[in-house]
């Protein structure tokens, strides 16, 4: 190897002696790091910094006065018991977030895996795949806020679903879907399901198609049943993509904001308030300290959960 390099060096003129293509690699990668640094890393550091400042006295006033240094007071407040609500807000909102994510994500994974298997099955050879893929992906193209606003109009007390339910005597006229704990959570989860199952399906299909066809052929030659192929070949080989989809979905779920906010923000519904809605609520009166502290807590929780998921799914191989 060494000799070859030396030989080529001898041939080229002296000026161009130190042409290093690695430089271009760095230059191209740099753009990402610069953008990441300015728009993500720096604000993250700032958030942590902010979380140590006490804004209590100047909340709600135009942001011209400076906060006092508060140490860990914001963290103490994050974990403080709310006597008025009779609960710990942080755990309640975190619980809401996880619950709504789970209600939406579990059916999302099941449906997506089934669809992905059907679409990639070489035996079924379904026609019009492109069409179905587009249709399933479609809800994801609509802005989440617009999608939620649509649901809000449909399920409003002056909306068609409410009217239909009242006329059939299923609910009283006073009933409000958005205020009902079960319904509002279900609607948020349903919307997330509708928006994301297409995306997950496409990712899983890509994963299945990435598995070497010869493995399936070999299995079939050996007389493996379809179930056997599914559970012993497809799913295990699909694991890396499943982990990826699961973790990204979980992180997205923990950051759930737009759908529940648009659907239930009007009523300040405590049963569908997510952790990011809580951050937004304290930010409304410029409590950057408290918002920073909640964000840091969310960051740590997300990190821990991701690690747990990664370890559990990947555990057997270690």
């Amino acid at each position: 190897m060494e000799t070859i390099v030396n030989a080529s060096e001898e041939k080229v003129p002296k000026k161009k002696k130190k042409v290093s293509y690695a430089k271009w690699g760095y230059i191209f990668v740099a753009s990402f790091f610069i953008v990441y640094g300015i728009f993500t890393f720096f604000p993250q550091i700032l958030t942590i910094y902010d979380s140590f400042w006490d804004y209590t006295k100047i909340c709600g006033k135009p942001p011209v006065e400076s906060p006092e240094f508060g140490g860990f007071i914001n963290y103490a407040n994050v974990f403080k018991y709310d006597a008025d609500l009779g609960t710990y807000k942080i755990w309640k909102y975190l619980g809401n977030t996880v619950l709504m994510w789970v209600i939406g994500a579990v059916p999302q994974f099941i449906v997506s895996i089934i669809l992905a298997l059907l679409f990639t099955s070489s035996r079924l050879k379904l026609k019009g795949l492109g069409f179905f893929k587009s249709v399933f992906y479609m809800p994801n193209l609509i802005m989440a806020t617009a999608f939620a606003a649509l649901f809000l109009v449909i399920f409003d007390t002056a909306g068609p679903i409410h009217l239909m339910f009242v006329e059939n005597g299923w609910i009283s006229e006073n009933f409000d879907f958005i205020l009902n704990r079960g319904w509002s959570r279900f609607l948020v989860a349903a919307m997330n399901f509708l928006m994301w199952f297409g995306n997950t399906t496409i990712l899983l299909m890509a994963g299945i198609q990435g598995i070497d066809e010869s493995v399936f052929e070999a299995a079939r030659m050996d007389g493996a049943s379809s179930n056997r192929v599914l559970f012993d070949i497809t799913l295990p080989l699909l694991k890396p993509i499943v982990i990826y989809v699961f973790i990204t979905s979980m992180i997205g779920g923990l950051q759930m904001y737009d759908v529940p906010y648009v659907l239930t923000g009007k009523y300040n519904n405590l049963e569908t308030k997510t952790i990011v809605m809580y951050i937004n609520e304290v930010l409304r009166t410029y409590n950057y300290g408290m918002a920073g502290a909640i964000s840091v807590v969310l960051f740590i929780v997300t990190g821990i959960l991701s690690l747990i998921v990664f370890k559990t799914i990947n555990g057997k191989e270690d």
Partner: protein, 464 residues
């Protein structure tokens, strides 16, 4: 060769970027912040250089006027305004706020601060404000009495009712006779019971009477030692709302909900509502125009010019009348304030003077059905014998003139918008429960939930 190509590409990109930056150069404009387009419409028609409706851009003394509109829900307008004002001195010319609009609920936060300018220092004199109502001046003053803004309207509010329903149910022909029947809350309750018998709602929203009560408060939401207490009058309102929902006198729809405003149409069941002149002219579209024609997908049908098409015979235009009702009160009002850091003082002063002028005031009374902030113009119109067609040619100005002088601006705090709106939001959760679940414990829960909401936003506040 490749390097050269890259360089050329880079240089072109850079040049293009610079060009874009310079082309959206820092244009000096007259910049106004607002939360809806009510005043903007009046400005375009009566104050701008163009003085006609429907143009794309307007000018004042040759300078382009720029409006930034942020909806006021959940305090979003206040937040946007706070941020803009805090950075106003160093803002680009095109972004600098010169003037902004504020509402009664939060005006003192800005008037009583360094974010606004003394209007007498930018060209307004006490004489310009001589004919205005005292409370509009007081609301826009800081704690030393320095005036920071003016209002173009005065907002005494009354009971707005359907004359045809009054005749059918109560046999009442005139507003005077109607006033007799609802002169206090117990009489109001009696009428509500009669309305219910005939299948009508007294009001379309549980919160329609909220401002009548809250505006007559004898103590503020938050006292000087930062303690949050629910005013006695709001307690009274809670009882009324509870009773009205229980008896089916009203609906659990919010003040601005479609579920309420649909009751203003010809087939609607709401007998009355409460509000000032801006309310029935600006916020009662379903009464003014009727029910909108809908497309199959539920959106409003529009004609070739983009105007909404309304179903024939569904409007209640001309059927409404206005009276003082059980208790006099005022609601809202828009003030224009001069922003500190703004660089168009002369234009701000010009707009403010125009707002108080006889000419502008007469125009908005006669053409827009407003009640102006100019006592002379109001008195002139009250005596003119003319009337508002929406109110069956009743001269509403006459009613407002009698009420306007007694309006007092007191017991206001910087927390009022969140308190007033937050309280209704939390309380309706209780009202929407099924009848057998509306217990004292649930009511307490709604109040506690309100406390928690306010304390999350303003951690400095305490409760018992």
């Amino acid at each position: 060769m490749k390097k050269k190509l890259l360089l050329t590409l880079g240089a072109t990109a850079l040049a293009a970027a610079t060009l874009t930056l310079t082309s959206c150069s820092d244009k000096d404009v007259f910049h106004i912040y607002c939360w809806n387009n009510e005043f903007q419409g009046f400005f375009n028609k009566y104050i701008s250089d163009e003085k006609e409706a429907g143009l794309d851009t307007y000018h004042l003394d040759g300078k382009e006027v720029k409006w930034t509109q942020v909806v006021s829900d959940n305090g979003a307008y206040q937040k946007a305004l706070d941020e803009a004002l805090a950075n106003n001195k160093n803002a680009k010319k095109s972004e600098k706020v010169d003037m902004f609009l504020a509402e009664a609920d939060y005006i003192i936060k800005y008037a009583d601060s360094d974010l606004t300018k003394d209007v007498t220092k930018i060209g307004l004199s006490k004489a310009d404000m001589a004919d205005t109502y005292q409370y509009t001046v007081q609301a826009a003053s800081d704690n030393k009495g320095v005036v920071k803004g003016v209002s173009f309207q005065c907002c005494p509010a009354g009971m707005i009712y359907r004359a045809d329903i009054a005749k059918e149910v109560l046999g009442v022909e005139t507003p005077e006779a109607m006033q007799e029947l609802v002169s206090d809350w117990s009489k109001f309750d009696e009428v509500a019971a009669k309305m219910k018998e005939k299948g009508y709602y007294m009001t379309g929203s549980y919160a329609d009477t909220y401002r009548v009560f809250s505006n007559n408060a004898t103590a503020p939401w938050v006292n000087s030692s930062n303690k949050l207490t629910i005013p006695t009058v709001v307690n009274d309102w809670m009882e009324q709302a509870d009773k009205y929902v229980k008896n089916g006198y009203t609906k659990t729809a919010g003040v601005w909900d479609a579920d309420k405003t649909k009751e203003f149409t010809a087939s609607g069941k709401a007998f009355c509502t409460f509000g000032p002149a801006w309310y029935y002219n600006f916020s009662m579209t379903t009464a003014q125009k009727g029910e909108a024609e809908l497309n199959a997908d539920g959106t409003e049908k529009k004609d070739a010019d983009g105007n909404v098409i309304y179903k024939e015979g569904t409007s209640t235009f001309g059927n409404w009348r206005v009276i003082k009702g059980p208790q006099s009160h005022f609601w809202g009002g828009t003030w224009a304030l001069a922003a500190e850091g703004g660089d168009d003082d002369a234009l701000v002063a010009k707009v403010m003077k125009a707002c108080l002028s006889d000419e502008f005031s007469t125009s908005i009374i006669e053409n827009e059905g407003q009640f102006s902030n100019n006592k002379k113009s109001n008195a002139k119109y009250a005596a003119s014998g003319k009337g508002n067609a929406f109110l069956g040619n009743q001269n509403d100005t006459k009613i407002w003139v009698d009420m306007a002088d007694s309006i007092q601006f007191k017991n206001n705090t910087i927390y009022d918008q969140q308190c007033n709106e937050g309280f209704q939001t939390e309380y309706v959760k209780y009202l929407k429960l099924d009848a057998d679940k509306r217990t004292a414990a649930e009511k307490e829960k709604a109040i506690k939930s309100f406390y928690s909401y306010i304390k999350t936003q303003f951690p400095i506040l305490t409760t018992d």
